[in-house]
Symmetry: C2
Subunit: 227 residues, 2 copies
């Protein structure tokens, strides 16, 4: 499903070049559950943004479902992002002026889901993350962990084939975090590919494989027996 070769991303800041990601070769097959770990600033979110077709690499190639992403048109990319990928952002990126429910409905609106189906599907996604009683709150009326869970519900509402989650339990207490991991494991059991960035060993142990980054480079790729 995911195949990158020498994937590279550089940023220019003033007179400096930041090598945020350098020469990453990553292969993830459909149905895998993979964890990405590494120190702060080591390139994890940069990598995730490239895998999610939210950004373009400076060099190297990325084949998603067999198609080279750089050859896709703007419309094709938008369709892939909406229909095939669910993305949980490290800083949530919720719409500030609208309710949790409407935030979760957004991917359904973009994907042309019939209007009568949107609310029940959004309510189901919010219930799955324990927020049925917070549907009408705006982000400013939610706790940090509640905002994170709205972002998770929004990523799942369109039944994506690939879930990319950047630190999805970072703002959650241990028990709520484990409930979310149980949900991800259940979705993975139905065939959804899950790639998640985490710094918590408690979360990484659910994965079948751990990719470790350091200073923009992929330094190890180890299988493990998930718990």
């Amino acid at each position: 499903m995911i195949e990158t070769q020498s994937l590279t991303k550089d940023y220019v800041v003033g007179a400096d070049v930041v090598h945020a990601l350098a020469d990453a070769d990553i292969r993830i097959d459909a149905g895998e559950l993979v964890a990405i770990m590494g120190p702060s600033g080591s390139g994890k979110s940069t990598c995730m943004n490239l895998l999610g077709c939210l950004d373009t690499p400076s060099a190297g190639s990325y084949h998603f479902d067999g198609v080279e992403v750089s050859s896709m048109s703007t419309d094709q990319l938008a369709a892939v992002r909406n229909e095939k990928i669910g993305f949980v952002f490290q800083s949530f990126n919720l719409l500030g002026r609208t309710s949790a429910l409407h935030n979760v409905e957004m991917p359904l609106i973009y994907g042309n889901t019939p209007a009568r189906d949107r609310r029940p599907r959004a309510v189901a996604a919010l219930s799955a993350v324990g927020l049925a009683d917070r549907m009408d709150h705006t982000p400013a009326q939610l706790s940090g962990g509640q905002m994170q869970r709205v972002a998770i519900a929004r990523a799942l509402v369109n039944d994506p084939a690939l879930l990319l989650a950047d630190e999805p339990t970072g703002a959650l207490d241990t028990r709520t975090g484990l409930e979310i991991m149980a949900l991800f494991q259940k979705l993975n059991g139905t065939g959804i590919t899950v790639v998640l960035v985490t710094h918590e060993p408690e979360v990484a142990r659910f994965a079948q494989r751990i990719l470790r980054f350091r200073d923009g480079r992929l330094v190890s790729d180890q299988g493990q027996t998930p718990e």
Copy 2:
């Protein structure tokens, strides 16, 4: 230093009342290092915002350094927040259009630090959190954990007597998180009072005392031997 009685905060959302914090009696003496824990949505950030004089309670009282906070004028509150309290927000609250360095200088500007002293003090604070080489980046040019550390540096730059940190290691890998906790422990050793919200047991073990919240109520207050 901190003394609350029946501290209560309610929010009205549509036809509902959310009892975000109910009847909290909290006493924290100068020089303590206290951890606050509890499930997502249990009232931790609500409590921190009240302790940081960023919000006013619906009922109950809060004495900070012997003065009832509700009796302070707007100017007195602003002075307390700037001179005595350093606050690390759960969602960082950095100024998006300006550099890390300028973000950290803001409390010095508000506090009338002489212009020639601001840059060296801000640089020192950023170096203490490992970000000397990211001073000129704006928040959009920083990783999640780097933004969190800019927020920490900003909270420390004015040498506050009280540090309130809401999930200060939430976006950090384990090792960087331990470096930040070592920094907090060192500051606490010089007499700074530290109150931090965390969901990570690895972080809570640095505290001398743990306050636990559930459904807006303080349910336990236990001393422990810090490591």
